[in-house]
């Protein structure tokens, strides 16, 4: 079963994401900050990372940069939570190695379908 990590300083967002994926049997790791996420990622490899950009301490962009420097995370899909399709952070994140973005707000259905698509592209095709 896929292991997913959600990085967001907002607890209710983490809770929704966790619930959505646990309901379909995925394992979910939660982190509230970038540095916490990095430590957890080193501890146990996850198959996909969803991260917010605006966070206190290490932000999402810095996290992407750090993750891509780790051997086991060079190709792991990383999605950012973006304000909307015109969010300037998307460009920045993509240059740093992000695979795509999910618009906030999202519906549980949309979240699941986007993540599944990305997982299929990365690990099946």
């Amino acid at each position: 079963m896929p292991r997913i990590m959600i990085v967001d300083d907002v607890a209710s967002i983490r809770q929704i994401v966790t619930k959505v994926f646990q309901d379909v049997g995925y394992q979910v790791t939660e982190a509230a900050r970038g540095d916490e996420a990095l430590d957890l990622a080193k501890l146990k490899r996850v198959h996909l990372v969803i991260t917010d950009v605006e966070m206190p301490g290490m932000n999402g962009l810095e996290l992407i940069k750090e993750l891509r420097q780790l051997k086991s995370y060079q190709t792991t899909p990383i999605l950012i939570l973006a304000r909307d399709a015109s969010d300037v952070n998307i460009k920045k994140a993509e240059t740093l190695g992000a695979s795509g973005f999910i618009e906030k707000p999202f519906t549980p259905e949309r979240l699941l379908s986007v993540v599944n698509q990305v997982l299929v592209d990365a690990y099946v095709n």
Binding site: D8, D9, V10, A11, S12, I13, Q15, I16, K19, V20, D23, V24, D52, E54, M55, P56, L81, R83, D84, A85, S86, D87, V88, E103, K104, P105, F106, T107, P108, E109, R110, L112, S113, V114, Q117
Partner: protein, 710 residues
């Protein structure tokens, strides 16, 4: 897949309201001149977090509003506009509005859309001030470009019109084209279009024949609302079209915004012709008056909505519902009671084997106490949760009154039971208002009295033994004693001719009497028909006491003393006839066996007792509850003190000290005068815990009523 999003709502509300409190505190710091990237980022992030979660959790209105607010805060942190007083005002009003929306959503109440619109316009003004043509435009590269462009072509008297356009699913299938509509609108003024794609399904479920899109449009135009709405005339049958804000007749606040614009430009442009003094003065005065009116409205609103609302839980790693904690506390209380029962039984066992059992019980006693203390510690919160709201209140009150006040907060890390903190907010708010209203003088008066123009308001909290002391102090004019005397005379609280002989303490006590106010005329800040008597009652309900110290011309200090928790009290068991009652140990001054000589009847009602030259009302406890008691000279007088007054309470015997768990009577029965609650004793008996403050009060206020309560 369907997930019930409501399970996440509780944590969303508490997290968001907490974030708002932080944003508000940070905005106040910003307003007082502090500038740092961290500060600006923190403000931005608070709103950003709410926006992100609100939309996902099914609060689209909150999502939409915070979305616009976020853009402005993004501009702010990138330094695109300087946060002047007006901008700070707008942003604080927005924080208020988000709080209002959250509270409404929490209470499942409908939202007032008009407020939304007015604030969105103010936000749009801020954005246009920072160079963005209109609100709602993404702050990306495009935004930057428009910053370089000259101002939007719209004339100054153009109004901002918001259109929500949600076509039905068959919109495209019936041959309609949204783009054509937008082009028509664009011809009427300057149009900003934002598509809402949140309803677009995953690629697998996508039906290309269907319309999943919706749009939010902003049109700055001089046309009337009907004209704008007519554009949608052909399509409105199967679409949702809401047109807001275009002039039907112009709305008052839009006019005001228009009037104010030229003012600001003149101020900012250094090369514009200088205004003559006569011209400038009325304009500036009008603006100040306008600012003031706005603040007053806001203060008024906060009074109506916020002051009654519960204080929010603190920002910590773990959020636990109050109910769960209460259940835990209750269980620990039961454990303490069971332990006491066990101890009682063992003390009655005259058996050799009891020795080891006793040891085990000692151990249990020890652990139960540890457990009790840990649970209490969980319920403790720092005083900053009560003090935190005052910087904003003081700011608003100063703006409304023209007074200058510096707020000094200390000891805010002192911890107190969270339920006590909640109940303290109202009395503290009242004291702060009171200080600003009655205590602190206008700047000119202060200067004339040789004081600093800016007054200091002190909020201080400090632990003292098992109590906490909270001080609300000001360096204002102090209590006006002659006026207190005069007012007391007028209210009949003191007899004519007696007023000169009143002690300072008595004068200070008088201000806590019901209906007492020395304000020459009730003004907008206080004078709400609530007096210090209510403050004293609130504090009394927390088993606390309030004192006032005042020096003419130097200031006033209100000192509140409270037990750290409401749940457990150190009590003295007293017996009357066959009954047992508990008196709070904290209010017992001494216990004396009165000789027959010390007790004297007073004319008409009851007795007094002489203790070292002082006469105290002697209140037979048996008399209050209709219990047969021993004669006065065979009983014991317990001297109780509350709110600075004393009585001698006559009981038959003292039975010993005990820590008891308070169970409220109100929840299970009803409020009984002079009774604070009930508890279960070791032997399993339910006994009443007496309310010392109420006993003292009723004996001193109307001695005859004690008789009547039989």
């Amino acid at each position: 897949m369907s997930i019930d999003l409501r399970q996440f709502h509780a944590s969303f509300f508490s997290e968001s309201l907490e974030g708002l409190d932080a944003a508000e505190a940070n905005l106040l710091r910003l307003e007082s001149g502090e500038r740092s990237p961290e500060l600006l980022n923190a403000i931005f992030r608070a709103i950003h977090s709410i926006k992100g979660a609100a939309g996902s959790l099914g609060f689209p209105e909150i999502g939409r509003f915070t979305h616009e607010f976020e853009y402005v805060l993004d501009d702010l942190r990138r330094g695109e506009f300087e946060p002047d007083a007006e901008a700070a005002d707008t942003m604080l009003a927005c924080v208020d509005h988000v709080r209002y929306m959250l509270r409404s959503a929490q209470a499942e109440k409908p939202l007032d859309a008009a407020r939304d619109t007015a604030l969105l316009e103010r936000l749009a003004e801020l954005r246009s001030a920072s160079g963005h043509a209109g609100a709602g435009k993404p702050a990306g590269a495009e935004g930057k470009k428009s910053a370089a462009k000259p101002a939007a072509p719209a004339a100054d008297d153009a109004a901002l019109c918001r259109i929500r356009f949600r076509p039905g699913p068959g919109f495209f299938a019936s041959g309609n084209d949204a783009l054509k509509l937008f082009r028509v609108l664009d011809g009427m003024g300057s149009l900003t279009v934002r598509a809402d794609v949140s309803a677009v399904p995953a690629p697998g479920k996508f039906d290309p024949e269907q319309c999943y899109l919706a749009w939010d449009l902003e049109l700055r135009t001089e046309r009337e609302r009907q004209e704008v709405a007519d554009v949608f005339g052909w399509v409105e049958d199967d679409c949702e079209v809401v047109v807001e804000g275009a002039p039907e007749g112009k709305r008052a606040d839009e006019k005001r915004a228009d009037e104010k614009k030229p003012d600001r430009k003149q101020e900012k442009k250094p090369d514009s012709a200088p205004l003559s003094a006569e011209e400038e003065k009325p304009a500036a005065a009008e603006r100040r008056a306008e600012d003031r009116r706005r603040t007053e409205r806001r203060v008024e609103r906060r009074r109506a909505e916020d002051l009654d609302a519960p204080l929010q839980t603190r920002g910590d790693i773990l959020h636990v519902g109050r109910a769960k904690l209460d259940a835990l506390m209750n269980a620990v209380g039961e454990l303490v009671i069971t332990k006491t029962i066990l101890k009682q039984i063992i003390s009655e066992l005259v058996h050799d084997g009891a020795g080891r059992l006793e040891e085990a019980i000692q151990e249990l006693d020890h652990h139960a106490r540890d457990l009790q203390e840990s649970v209490m510690a969980i319920r403790m919160q720092p005083m900053s949760f009560a003090f935190g709201r005052f910087p904003r209140l003081v700011r608003d009150l100063c703006q409304a009154s023209g007074k200058l006040v510096q707020l000094r907060v200390s000891g805010e890390a002192s911890e107190l039971d969270s339920t006590v903190i909640e109940k303290l907010v109202d009395p503290l708010t009242h004291l702060v208002r009171n200080a600003l209203d009655h205590g602190v003088e206008a700047p000119a008066e202060r200067v004339a009295a040789g004081k600093l123009e800016t007054a200091t308001l002190t909020l201080h909290a400090e632990h003292r033994g098992g109590n906490i002391e909270i001080v609300v102090g000001d360096d204002g004019r102090g209590i006006n004693r002659p006026r207190v005397r005069a007012k007391a005379l007028e209210l009949g609280l003191i007899a004519a001719g007696q007023e000169e002989s009143l002690s300072d303490e008595r004068v200070q006590e008088l201000i806590f009497a019901p209906g007492f106010s020395t304000a020459e005329q009730p003004n907008e800040l206080s004078g709400r028909g609530v007096g210090l008597d209510v403050v004293r009652r609130n504090v009394g309900e927390l088993n606390g006491a309030i004192k006032v110290e005042s020096e003419p011309g130097r200031g006033t200090r209100f000192v509140i003393r409270l037990p750290l928790t409401l749940a457990i009290v150190d009590g003295m068991r007293v017996g009357v006839g066959a009954e047992t009652y508990i008196l709070p140990l904290a209010s017992i001054v001494e216990c004396i066996r009165p000789g027959a000589a010390a007790v004297r009847p007073i004319s008409g009602h009851g007795h007094v007792m002489e203790i070292r030259g002082e006469y105290l009302p002697l209140v037979p406890l048996g008399g209050i509850f209709g219990v047969e008691a021993v004669a006065a000279d065979k009983g014991i007088a317990v001297v109780l003190e509350a709110d600075g007054a004393r009585i001698a309470l006559l009981v038959d015997s003292l039975l010993g000290q005990e820590q008891v768990v308070i169970k409220t009577l109100e929840a299970n029965y009803r409020k009984v005068p002079c009774v604070a609650g009930a508890t279960i004793l070791g032997e399993g008996r339910v006994v009443l815990i007496l309310d010392a403050a109420a006993l003292v009060r009723s004996a001193n206020e109307a001695p005859q009523e004690i008789e009547g309560a039989r």
